[in-house]
């Protein structure tokens, strides 16, 4: 009797479509990296920080809209100004934005260097440019949930609770692009800054501490220049804690305020033109660092 064997390896030659487009590779890189940074398919402890910070950022909007829902729009409309105005909102959630950038963004990029997955990625058709773009989107889009979503949520809520919703939209039409643009600006600057710092190390903790130290030091130096050298509002141009936030705030309308010796005081910040210039320089420097760190070293 002849011996017969059936080998089922369930492996078929693939004759489907293989796309050569950069878009698919970038989208895949962004999606998987964002899911990992947000703690998807990982224990609940990995989800606490991103979800918690997003909720903190939404907190003032939820509170303001909750008060409106409880008291009714007739009472709240008698209050001078909005319960939570759009402009200062960024300052209210500044901590959440910076903490998110410091903690979550390194998660998208550091583990790849640490576990040397980068070599594997670059052995596919993925180019370093596509890799970095994927990481930028993986960091930027979730950060938009902290910078843009709360204000958008507040805006929609305000429209919903307004006595004349259409009239509210007409009165606050210019806030729509300002909210979208301002949120995007803050997210973009802190995404690139976070990625640039994270690209210098394979350790997430070092990247987070480095980001926080850079913000603290830039704030201290800025304060020292203002107080000691009496440089005026332009000394704030090196304060990375507020650079994109002040510009976004000015886009919406209104000057930044600080708690200093008591209630909120309006402070002088640099001109819009200077803020745009310095933010642009910051973006270019961060992109340059990323380009240097992820250039193909040998081919």
């Amino acid at each position: 009797m002849s011996e017969a064997k059936i080998h089922d390896v369930r492996y078929r030659p693939y004759d489907g479509e293989v796309s050569g487009s950069s878009r698919r590779a970038i989208v895949s890189m962004a999606r998987w990296s964002a899911l990992r940074a947000l703690g998807a398919r990982r224990p609940w402890t990995a989800k606490i920080v991103p979800v918690g910070l997003a909720l903190i950022a939404l907190g003032p909007a939820i509170t303001a809209l909750g008060v409106k829902a409880l008291l009714g729009s007739t009472i709240t409309q008698q209050l001078p100004g909005d319960l939570v105005p759009y402009g200062p909102y960024y300052q209210l959630i500044g901590f959440a934005i910076l903490a998110y950038a410091a903690i979550v963004i390194p998660e998208t990029i550091c583990p790849d260097r640490r576990s040397r997955v980068l070599d594997l990625y670059l052995s596919t058709a993925l180019s370093p440019r596509e890799y970095v773009l994927g990481k930028v989107f993986a960091s930027l889009i979730p950060l938009l949930a902290v910078t843009t979503l709360p204000l958008a949520f507040l805006y929609v809520g305000n429209v919903f609770f307004a006595t004349h919703p259409l009239g509210y939209v007409q009165d606050h039409l210019r806030e729509i692009p300002a909210i979208l643009g301002g949120g995007l600006l803050i997210a973009l600057v802190y995404t690139l800054l976070g990625l640039a710092i994270a690209s210098l190390t394979s350790r997430r903790a070092f990247a987070s501490v480095g980001f926080i130290l850079l913000l603290i030091i830039s704030g201290l130096v800025s304060g020292a220049l203002r107080e000691v050298a009496n440089l005026g509002p332009n000394s704030r141009l090196i304060n990375l804690q507020g650079l994109p936030i002040w510009l976004a705030q000015k886009m919406i309308g209104g000057e930044p305020s600080f708690i200093k010796n008591g209630p909120l005081q309006q402070v002088n910040t640099p001109d819009v033109g200077l803020l745009i210039l310095i933010n642009a320089i910051l973006i270019v420097v961060c992109v340059g660092i990323l380009a240097l760190r992820y250039r193909r070293s040998d081919a």
């Binding site: 040397r116 997955v117 081919a299």
Partner: protein, 304 residues
């Protein structure tokens, strides 16, 4: 349709400081499975990275599947799979997720990536563990994941850099079986580097030996002549009856002198015949040893 030559290297040279990693390497690789043999630092990994278009050559050209590796690097990498030597897997991903992710990066749609990930993990024997995170895998399982991800986009050629490094004997044997199956059953051409001669002998049809960045030997492995063992049998008394009986049994014998005979052994049966004939003719087998250098000797000399 005729397949293009897998790899053609012409005068490839690459220097790192004072080290000549590749020294005017010229060779053609087209066997179903080719072993790249050499000691650590012989230039194997550099050659593999040059084939992938990840290392810039100082001189020379490399064509892979009909494409120039330097000019069309992305196109080359899209058609081949690569498993690096070192640890390179994200520990927090599952095997299935990693294969899906890399399939998408190589241009497969999301639906196709899911299906292919399942197929390749089955093919390398990780069907049951596909939903476990890689961080909990043994070294042998991680090597299989590396192989699976290299296969996920159905490449025409896969390049495996030291795939048995760090494996225990049982894991190593399993890994070699899987690699052999990939080249024989799945019809994927394989280039495998190793510094272990036995790994190459067990998996490959051809071998390229490198030393100090240069190719010292390139030859097919499993020819009939290689598989036959030529032995020299020395007997105590005159070997004439022994030779006559052996020849009658179908063995190829050459008399060297009255007590010495060259015998070609092509199978285990031939060995049994030799032993039994020596006993039945009573010639007294004094010494039995290999006649001339074996392929191992040749390879070991080339490795240096």
């Amino acid at each position: 349709m005729e397949q293009p030559t897998a790899i053609e290297v012409r005068g490839a040279s690459r220097r790192y400081g004072s080290i000549q990693a590749l020294d005017n390497v010229t060779l053609t690789i087209d066997a179903p499975a080719t072993g790249l043999l050499g000691q650590n630092g012989a230039g194997k990994s550099t050659l593999m990275k040059a084939i992938l278009g990840l290392v810039r050559l100082d001189a020379g050209e490399i064509d892979v599947l009909g494409h120039n590796a330097r000019r069309d690097g992305e196109q080359v990498r899209r058609r081949i799979g690569y498993a690096p030597e070192h640890e390179c897997l994200p520990p927090e991903l599952t095997a299935a997720d990693l294969c899906r992710h890399l399939a998408e990066l190589r241009g497969l749609s999301r639906a196709d990536a899911i299906r292919r990930a399942s197929e390749v993990l089955f093919a390398v024997g990780l069907e049951e563990e596909r939903s476990r995170v890689i961080g909990g895998f043994s070294l042998g399982m991680r090597q299989r994941v590396k192989l699976a991800q290299a296969l996920v986009h159905a490449p025409e050629l896969i390049i495996l850099d030291e795939p048995t490094n760090g494996l225990d004997p049982a894991q190593r044997a399993e890994m070699l079986d899987v690699i052999r199956r990939v080249s024989r059953d799945l019809n994927v051409r394989v280039l495998i580097s190793s510094h272990i001669l036995d790994d190459i002998r067990r998996t490959c049809d051809a071998v390229v030996v490198m030393r100090d960045g240069a190719v010292t030997l390139a030859r097919p492995l499993a020819t009939e002549a290689d598989e036959a063992d030529v032995l020299r049998a020395e007997t105590v008394s005159n070997s004439a009856p022994f030779v006559a009986a052996m020849t009658a049994a179908g063995l190829d014998c050459t008399v060297i002198d009255t007590t010495t005979t060259r015998v070609v052994i092509r199978s285990e049966r031939d060995r049994d015949v030799l032993r039994d004939t020596a006993a039945s003719t009573g010639v007294g087998l004094r010494r039995l040893h290999r006649d001339g250098p074996s392929i191992e000797d040749e390879l070991l000399e080339a490795i240096g």
